[in-house]
Amino acid sequence: MLERGEVANSWRRERWESLRLLTPNWQSRLPGLHYDGPDRDGYMSMREVITFIERFATVSRAPVRTATEVLSLCRVDGGYQLATSGGPIRCRAVVIATGACNVPVVPSVREAVPDSVTQLTPFDYRWPDLLPDGGVLVVGASATGVQLADELRRSGRPVVLSVGEHVRLPRTYRGRDVLWWMDACGVWDQRHDEVDDLDRARRLPSPQLIGTPERRTLDLDALSASGVELVGRLAGLRDGRALFSGGLRNVVALADLKLDRLLDTFDEWAGTTGVDGAPERFPPTRLADSARLQLDLTRGEIRTIVWATGYRPDYSWLDVPVLDGKGRLRHHGGVVDSPGLYALGLPLLRRRRSTFIHGIEDDARAVVDHLAGHLAARL
């Protein structure tokens, strides 16, 4: 196992200070290692995640070679050739487990942002005090965006949040974690070959959830209530002005409708299994009569833009032609289009749960089975 940094590197280097997992502790499980602390319904801090993964590396006796970066990977007769910072390696099979979120995605309009405005990605962001005083425009309202908008607003700054398509979820439903419901009624088990539009499902934004001790909901209503101003999707930048879509009401309506359909699924499941409690419905998301369509970035109202516009994998070291036109890895349930090459840790790799830490157990087993078959067939 080659790791460019240390064990749990992404959790050490690429996350902000206050981040906690949005998945509850009981769901943080790796093969043979389950959370065994006192707070099954809590959410791990970064320190706790790092400790958890370090513990897994120790108990599983994973043969990790740290500080070894893969610089290139190419196909050769009978297998693959790697160049690494620790020297060349030849092997018959490779599992790419370099993560789905190596680089923050930033739209190209960033180039038109006036120099007076500081621009940050979630990888640059650590805590609010490091930002210049003054207003912040957070672009993107999925998990990262809502969490950073909330934290920045609580630090006393004026915050404008640009909202595109998003996934609204309450933290708890009928007294239980919303992710418990999804687990119980089988949402996470849905397989890649059962999903209607796999391409779209793989691009689904992360849900508007935050892990806090009080298990609070962090949807757009909660943000508005704390004073965050909501505007539409960032549609362009012209003459120093950010231009926002006038379609905010519809993205909000889509998310509200989708939430209701999900709650219907929960209630149906609860009806057949006899889970106690009564159905709840949340009021439609409230919006101001008209959201701002423009924001002058030259006037000093906004001093910082935080791009919470998603993440992507980095395959710049991969010299095997297995990427599609959009730079995504072509694979079928983790089996890449090149014999002996495999992938793990990508969104909906084999099941909806593949996106999360708890998805790895099933995925790894299936992929390793295939890999073992590949090696055996060629002996």
């Binding site: 549609a235 362009g236 231009l243 379609g247 519809n250 309506a253 889509l254 209701d260 008209s290």
Partner: protein
């Protein structure tokens, strides 16, 4: 077997979607209109040809649109005002979307009516107040739909139709516009 028929050939649309996925060039369309000044603020705009799927295309017939201003603007009212054409575009685009999405989701429509209202402060175009914009301040579309579906499914149809609407996008998002003199 579905017996739902809203008159939309969804299969053809899905096939096109599949075919164009790997042929982005064929998906490039150019829509054209040619306009002639008549008199006063009256003009006539004709539409027949467009470009798409890699070649010149043509509507069955040419369509002619008259635009003018109403009598309250001291004009002859030979046709609707240009900004009302935006309402035509928006209503027809969203309605087409509702029908297509309903067909795709197996929902039989019986009637789809909509009213589109654009709030317009004309002090902008008259130059009375430079803080007032020229275009609409607000556009409201209200659908009344009779279909074999729940209220929630109908709301989802309307939401999805906005999500895939060319005119909704053109109105809600900025577009680069270049006007040149030949």
């Amino acid at each position: 077997m579905t017996t739902v028929d809203n008159g939309v050939n969804v299969q053809a649309l899905l096939d096109a979607r599949g075919a164009l996925k790997d042929a982005p060039d064929a998906a490039q369309f150019t829509w054209r209109a040619t306009s002639t000044w008549r008199n006063g603020v009256h003009s006539t705009t004709r539409i027949q040809n467009f470009f798409g799927l890699g070649q010149e295309q043509s509507h069955k017939t040419e369509t002619v649109f008259d635009a003018d201003h109403p009598a309250v603007f001291a004009a002859e009212d030979n046709g609707i005002t240009p900004i009302e054409y935006l309402l035509v575009g928006l209503a027809s685009c969203l309605t087409a979307g509702v029908a297509s999405v309903a067909q795709n989701r197996g929902i039989q429509l019986r009637s789809v009516e909509s009213t589109v209202e654009g709030q317009h402060d004309i002090r902008g175009i008259l130059g009375v107040d430079s803080d007032v914009r020229n275009g609409f301040n607000d556009v409201k579309v209200t659908f009344t739909i009779d279909a074999d579906a729940s209220q929630q499914e109908i709301e989802a149809l309307v939401a999805q139709s906005q999500k895939r609407s060319a005119v909704f996008d053109a109105l809600t998002n900025p577009t680069n516009v270049t006007v040149a003199v030949a």
